[in-house]
């Protein structure tokens, strides 16, 4: 018993260490974003919201937030739709080359972002589509759809395979069964995929940097400011970005696990 609790203590300590390691830089960034000193040094100066006021009065930063919001919402809609279709195809049909189809569908996140950004730029430039907001959207959809697919596929794996045929048997056309059975069943996963893809898109820097041109997203903006000077307003922007994407991810998790932990089979 004592041995067990000793092990337990060790494990807890380990978990705490991991979290400290992950969150220290973010916490640091937040601390310096409300610190009055120009440079990140200890001892700290006094509390201030000055840096937040600076960024909120900067129209360029507002513009970057607007672009980011527009991009991430468009990406979330498109990527969730494509992800749902891919996941449903995998659930409903068996066909030759299905393994290949699945690995292709899941491939994009495994490609190094720089390569992906470069490739996207090369392609979009060739078809005169680079440097616009929709070029970022297109590139991010490619990157995010697999995440949406993975989340929705997980949900479809829990469905009683008789539900859809039962709807057909009760008079539903295939489209109607999709609308009345599959989509309601997947609703928590769809909402969760929406938030998750929005967060991924909102955060993404490398690809956006390649294809955004003059339509800078927030991460691209951060780099530009950093290249000019180091200024605590970077910490302020960073904290806001962190808060937005973390909220999206947490919402995604909450929706998925709260809704899907209820009994899902109706048989026994």
């Amino acid at each position: 018993m004592t041995r067990l609790s000793g092990q337990n203590l060790l494990l807890r300590g380990y978990v705490v260490l991991v979290f400290v390691f992950v969150f220290t830089p973010i916490v640091t960034s937040f601390v310096f974003s409300v610190n009055s000193d120009r440079f990140p040094t200890i001892p700290l100066g006094h509390f201030t919201t000055h840096w937040y006021e600076t960024i909120f009065s900067d129209p360029d930063i507002w513009e970057a937030f607007r672009v980011s919001a527009l991009v991430s919402i468009s990406v979330a809609i498109l990527a969730t739709f494509i992800g749902f279709c891919t996941a449903y195809t995998d659930y409903r049909y068996n066909f030759t080359g299905k393994a290949l189809y699945l690995s292709l569908a899941l491939l994009p996140p495994t490609i190094p972002l720089v390569i992906m950004g470069l490739a996207m730029l090369a392609l979009l430039a060739r078809i005169n589509m680079s440097g616009q907001i929709h070029s970022i959207v297109v590139s991010h959809v490619v990157l995010c759809a697999p995440f949406a697919m993975a989340v929705i596929r997980m949900r479809l794996a829990q469905i009683n395979p008789d539900l859809e045929p039962a709807a057909w048997n009760l008079g539903a056309s295939p489209w109607r069964a999709m609308r009345e059975v599959i989509i309601p069943f997947c609703r928590p996963a769809i909402a969760s995929a929406f938030c998750l893809t929005a967060a991924v898109s909102f955060d993404e820097f490398a690809v956006a940097w390649f294809v955004s041109g003059l339509n800078k997203t927030v991460p691209v903006m951060i780099l530009e400011i950093l290249q000019g000077n180091t200024d605590p307003q970077i910490n302020a922007i960073g904290s806001i970005v962190f808060a937005i994407s973390m909220s999206l991810v947490v919402i995604a998790q909450l929706i998925f696990f709260r809704k899907t932990s209820a009994p899902t089979t109706t048989g026994i």
Partner: protein, 368 residues
Amino acid sequence: MPNTSQARPLVSFEGVTKHYGTVAAVHAMDLDIFTGEFLALMGPSGCGKTTSLRMLAGLEEPTEGEIRLDGRRINEINSADRDTPMVWQSLALFPFLNVRQNVEFGLKMRKISPRDRQERAMRWLDRLEIADLAERDISQLSGGQRQRVALARSLVTEPRILLLDEPLSALDANLVVKMQGVLARLQKELGITFVYVTHSQSEAFAMSDRVVIMSQGRIEQIGSPKTIYRNPTSRFVADFVGSNNIFSGTISKEGATLQVNTPVGCFSCSPANDGNLFKTGSTLSMVVSADLVQISLTSPETANKVRCRFISEEFVGSIVTVFAELENGADFKVQVRQRDLADLGLKAGTVFYASWKATDVHLISESA
């Protein structure tokens, strides 16, 4: 048993075959199902009973042959347009809808107005005695209540035929018996056709007018429960029905009373099915039903007897199944009243005699 000679069948299978790749799940099946009958499709798993039902429901398409509903070929008609609702083994209730919404589903698909929908759903919930659960979530219901919801959901469109795919297999034994009563009564009251797939003999025999025994994609025998039980036409059926002692033998004397030579002795038989069909030297299976056997401690005055050693008993109430061993090691089953068995005082290893009347033997030609 409905009059099968004149009525036009509601459903007919004509040479229906279903292949999955190279495997034939159902092979050249011919079957007529009549209006108002309770028909059970029964057989071991993999015999093709569920595939046949799914073809009738429109969830599988036959590879060959024709399925007709009311005289019309329905092979190419979608499940949605057939009105052949099915009660699923998993029940397949929609977990995101409440009880009433589940029952309304079929009506909603038929574009019935919300008010009519609700009224008709409530009528069926009431009929199945679960009206008070209308607004509950499916996850809050017991197994028996879910069963009733599934029935109401399938019956709400007032179909002429209801398909049931082992609907009781998830319930406890006492609930099964109760639901059997509910189903049988419902079928009689509604006067519609029930096609019931099961592997359980007790379910099939308790409720149906006719039983279809299937094996390896083929129909082995069709008949009333009593016919199947007393007059199996093949060794498979005799074996599947479960309470039979079956011996392979050859005829040593032909005539109205036959002599049959088996590994456990020579017996005389006057089978109810025409004994004259069997000729000297032909091979057959001799079926002695376990419930038509008398037991005694002393050798009785009859030729039709075997010496047995008591092994064990299975007590199910007033009737006890005795498992015994013959002199050559073959198994022998006897069903007797618990009182009669207690009077004999059998213990493991006790030797006793089992005997039967020559007229109670059933013979199956080996070529059949």
